[in-house]
Symmetry: C2
Subunit: 653 residues, 2 copies
């Protein structure tokens, strides 16, 4: 039977479950990617599990978020992570090497292999024909320990691209068009599989833009064929030997289909403050600008910087604009220097920053309050820039560069110049000394973790109670993100390795009183009620663990974003949805939810009988038997400790 | 009579007073330099004074400290400062242009002119033959308003340089040698005037290193001749027309003399945590390294980066070292790119940061706790790096680069390579669009200040009381710096424009209980007792204003550093010294100091009769009649408001 590429990749890694959409499957993970903010918890988890050496190969720890180092906490964390790499057999990519996703593609990505990462944009490696999935840190830790990664079998959306992009329109506009059509939950529990003749003109980093921001539609991942474009990318990095071709079978059937005529696209922009508030740039044009931000995993390619340089060449950035250049990787930076583009940018008045995640995750470059910032980043959730009252737009590098010159939001087609088409150099700078390889096992055993006060051991969690009787301490609207639950930004990110210290900041912007109310309840527990797509966005597991630490027992929502939904039971929190979404409107803050015989009801079926202030309420769960047992144990670490013979087959039986 | 260059420069700007060492003189200021952290207060002061347009020309506001922007406070401050520039006739050098001191030399410095700046390293412009003086912000505001700058006539130290520097020894080693000989107070109330044949081989930015770090010896400023080296510097920046020759007269007499045979120097290093703990690098060699930090106004020249690039060319930074490259200016960055050095640095594994003050002032790049950091910056006061338990060494770029390669502190002479001698390009990139010029007066009048909650108006201070009766709330040791009084670092710096918010952090590291004790006393007032050289280091006026806001009435010390001593009466705090330094040992915390008839005693003479817990104590002041009246009024702003006809002649009469 003609097969999709997604099915082929899944089948090649399937170690349990059936490939029926919605059913839990278990996948063998070849590679693992850790970033620094969430990597600290993963290393602590591996330590708690007693792991001696990781099974995924390569496993790579990137330092890309914690680059500001306003005090010793970040630097101490780097030393902790490096020591953990040495001890556990993990590659270390230190500060200055750049953002995990593009660096992983450049140095480690291999078509056809699977990759798990503790970062929601891990999916970007799908650009190389990988099966690349973001997950909570504890699931990544399990995969690194040799366990499979569990997830619901996704539906496959075939995205057929044809035609060629017009001048001044680029990959970012393609993915913004998808977001315009389908919204931030439009690809939930789906894989976006790109195919069609339009692909040929999208280079590997253009594909990265699409694969990266599939996450913004809630996709499980995105998948691209491995073709001559992929081969070119690997060849220019001295890794052609890692290439082999991969494609869907002709005539394969997709669960859903989507069609984009690239020639029909125009420059698009996402208005504040959601990636799916997409309109043509012409509709936002003329608004004054404070900042144009270039970089991030949302536009990491050499091309994305070079085209900006060509647009501003010989001109000057407007006096009212900060044009912030954030090289995505050391390799890209080297190429921009060597090809003359960095000189052009600096001469035009751009600000150059170190390679890394930087302002994309609120680590510096925060805009002035209420002023417009145009960014090529993947997300514009409120406050993510570091400025509480921010006004962040998402757009292509072309649109950001044109606007930086004029000082107002500008459709780049209105510039009085020919569209500069830039080509990546045929040979990129390759230097393996930028990476610290794993130690051989005999040396690794002698290494101790450099733990600090900011990397305390994880808390031991209680088992799920038989009966839950707890008040609703917080009721949210739709599309609450994990950024809303556990903020990022320069102040809080350094604390993420310390769940006790970061607890202070839970729901800080959305509801500053939540932490106090939760603490008053303490271990007696509480409930959070969410709207649709609760927990969207980044994969941060502390958005589940820290509220649990504060007493969270149950989340009831209209719907829950996939990664967060998987993270919650891993830390003993029960994720439920309303059987009747209209019941959301019945819930008021401080009402009491009661569920009797919780383990029994979970094991019985998908529906739970509960009461809300004494009135009956019907709730649903979509947990697998494995997840139920994890939940009943009080989370993954308890479950692993209690399991007599932890094999994949048992877990799935 | 044969004259020193210092005397010539002073005489050319003298508008009052006599040039007798220790006597107060009044100097006309041609130019003014503001940095962002202290510039906000200066702009608020100019606003409080009702100034319409500044008299100094050029006056330049630099954005170089507040570049991290972890939330909107920094960006809001940039907009505030830009609006103040537009309103008051000040040039604006925005974020990304680099550190005030080298940028000012590149674009605005003119031999023979005077320059006042609200930054202690303003002295660096002495490298061009300017009379460049750092002062508290309120004194800078007065100078910008057309008033003279008042200071005690300094003694002139003639520093005779002869011979040529050996391979691997550079300007930083020369100034470290001076610090080794004379300590951090060794040039207090002095000008260091460099002369002799050894000068010819020191380019203008090498001279900047010496002029900059004269401040670390407490010098009023440093002065260099304007010679062919100066001419080359200006010519390569397209400003040869601004050059004219300046030199001391042959046979002139200096108050003190100093002699350095450059050929006899070796690589030196200042140990943690004072710039004068200087030893040969060989004595510290072999200690493991965490960081090698290149940049800052302490080594800002093209040469200082290029030599590092040549040392690491084709090699790799040791795995345990973060080699942090902080380009000093946009012009230097452009040259490093165009000459291939940046490519070399990035390839060797260096981390590239934005041009600016950065880690020198604790804005990022803080080292891990207790780990060794080698820095080319001017200061290594405890905690200034942002890490409380830091271990910062000061050294040349050569020593830092050699150590980055080996991973341990290394004498660069031990490297197995020829010493790379680098030449600055004959033409640097010059682009006036990097700077925003002042608005013409008719347009300036229409501009309003973009004030925010973080730029509140200054407090109104009470006049000096007739009788002081107050307890000693803090007794310190020697060499307490203004960093100790009002910390810098990424957390506190953004608050400096807000004296109410920054008050929380006063003496934070030295004595965390001080603020509470001061608040308990409130307006009843208190006393601080200091050791020798109290208030050394940065010129920050908030180190005087904020303790005053907390109730500080009197500082009694063995000696007080010049700029801080001048700042104290400007905000109504009485600066005194012990008539008998041995009395320092008699003072205990919580003892009560009583001074009767304070204004009368101040006007009577240099000695004040006081009691300490009832026992007589003899104290001295060195205030001019002008300073006494300012003090009695409760500070400069009160004094200006109360003066009927504020002319220079009256003030000096």
């Amino acid at each position: 039977m003609a097969d999709t590429l997604s099915h082929k990749l899944i089948a090649a890694h399937l170690v349990g479950g059936e490939m029926i959409p919605g059913h839990e499957i278990a996948l063998r993970m070849d590679q693992a990617l850790l970033q620094d903010i969430l990597g600290t918890l993963v290393m602590l988890e591996l330590d708690a599990m007693g792991i001696e050496r990781v099974h995924t190969n390569p496993s790579v720890q990137y330092i890309d978020h914690t680059l500001i180092q306003q005090d010793n906490i970040n630097a101490d964390a780097h030393l902790f992570l490096k020591s953990a790499c040495e001890r556990l057999g993990v590659w270390y990519s230190g500060p200055g090497n750049g953002i995990s996703h593009p660096v992983h593609m450049e140095r480690f990505g291999v078509p056809g292999q699977s990759l798990v990462g503790c970062d929601s944009h891990t999916t970007a490696a799908g650009a190389l024909g990988m099966l690349a999935i973001g997950a909570g840190g504890i699931e990544v830790a399990m995969a690194m320990a040799g366990e499979p990664l569990y997830l619901p079998m996704p539906e496959i959306i075939g995205v057929h691209l044809e035609g060629e992009l017009p001048d001044w329109v680029s990959a970012k506009d393609v993915v913004l068009e998808l977001l315009r059509r389908h919204g931030v939950a439009g690809a939930k529990n789906c894989i976006l599989e790109y195919h069609g003749p339009g692909l040929a003109a999208l280079d590997a980093m253009d594909r990265h833009v699409l694969a990266n921001m599939g996450t913004e539609m809630g996709a499980t991942t995105s998948v691209f064929p491995s073709d001559e474009v992929t081969r070119d990318f690997l060849r220019s990095r001295g890794r052609e030997a890692d290439w082999h071709p991969l494609a869907a079978d002709p005539g394969c059937r997709y669960d859903r289909t989507e069609h984009i005529d690239l020639a029909g696209l125009e420059p698009l922009i996402a208005l504040p403050s959601s990636p799916d508030k997409v309109v043509p740039v012409t509709e936002a044009a003329g608004q004054p600008l404070y900042q144009a931000y270039i970089g991030s995993s949302g536009n990491p390619g050499y091309r994305d910087f070079a085209v900006v340089a060509e647009i501003v060449r010989g001109r000057s950035v407007a006096d009212n604009v900060s044009l912030d250049i954030n090289p995505s990787t050391r390799q890209v930076l080297a190429a921009l220097i060597n090809e003359g583009h960095l000189s052009t940018l600096v001469d035009a008045g751009a600000r150059l920053h170190q390679p890394g995640c930087n302002g994309c995750i609120g680590m510096g470059q925060a805009p002035a309050a209420g002023r417009n910032s145009l960014r090529t980043v993947p997300r514009n959730f409120p406050g993510r820039s570091g400025t509480r009252e921010d006004s962040v737009f998402l757009c292509s590098p072309e649109t950001a560069a044109a606007s930086a010159l004029t000082g107002v939001i500008t459709d780049p087609r209105s510039l009085d110049m020919a569209y500069p088409r830039v080509q990546e150099p045929a040979r990129m700078v390759v230097n393996d000394s930028w990476f610290v390889p794993p130690l051989p096992p005999e040396r690794a055993r002698g290494v101790s973790l450099l733990a600090t006060d900011n990397t305390p051991p994880l808390p031991v969690l209680d088992a799920l109670p038989e009966r839950i009787e707890a008040p609703v301490l917080l009721k949210t609207g739709d599309n609450v993100s994990t950024d809303d639950i556990m903020p990022a930004g320069a102040k809080v990110l350094p604390l993420w390795s310390n769940v006790y210290a970061s607890a202070e900041h839970t729901f800080e912007a959305l509801d500053p009183g939540y932490v106090d109310r939760a603490r008053q309840r303490g271990e007696a527990g509480h409930v959070i009620v969410g709207g649709a797509n609760y927990g969207q966005g980044s994969s941060r597991e502390n958005a589940a663990l820290v509220p649990r630490l504060l007493g969270l027992q149950v989340v009831v929502a209209k719907s829950i974003a996939r990664i967060h939904w998987q993270n919650l039971p891993c830390f003993g929190v029960l994720p439920l949805t309303f059987a009747d979404p209209a019941d959301y409107d019945r819930v008021g803050q401080a009402q009491t939810l009661v569920i009797d015989d919780v383990p029994g009801q979970l094991r019985e079926g998908g529906t739970l009988r509960a009461t809300l202030d004494g009135e009956p309420l019907s709730l649903e769960h979509h947990l697998s038997p494995r997840q139920i047992e994890i939940l009943v144990s009080g989370g993954v670490i308890n479950w692993l400790r209690q399991r007599p013979t932890p094999t994949t087959q048992e877990a799935l039986s």
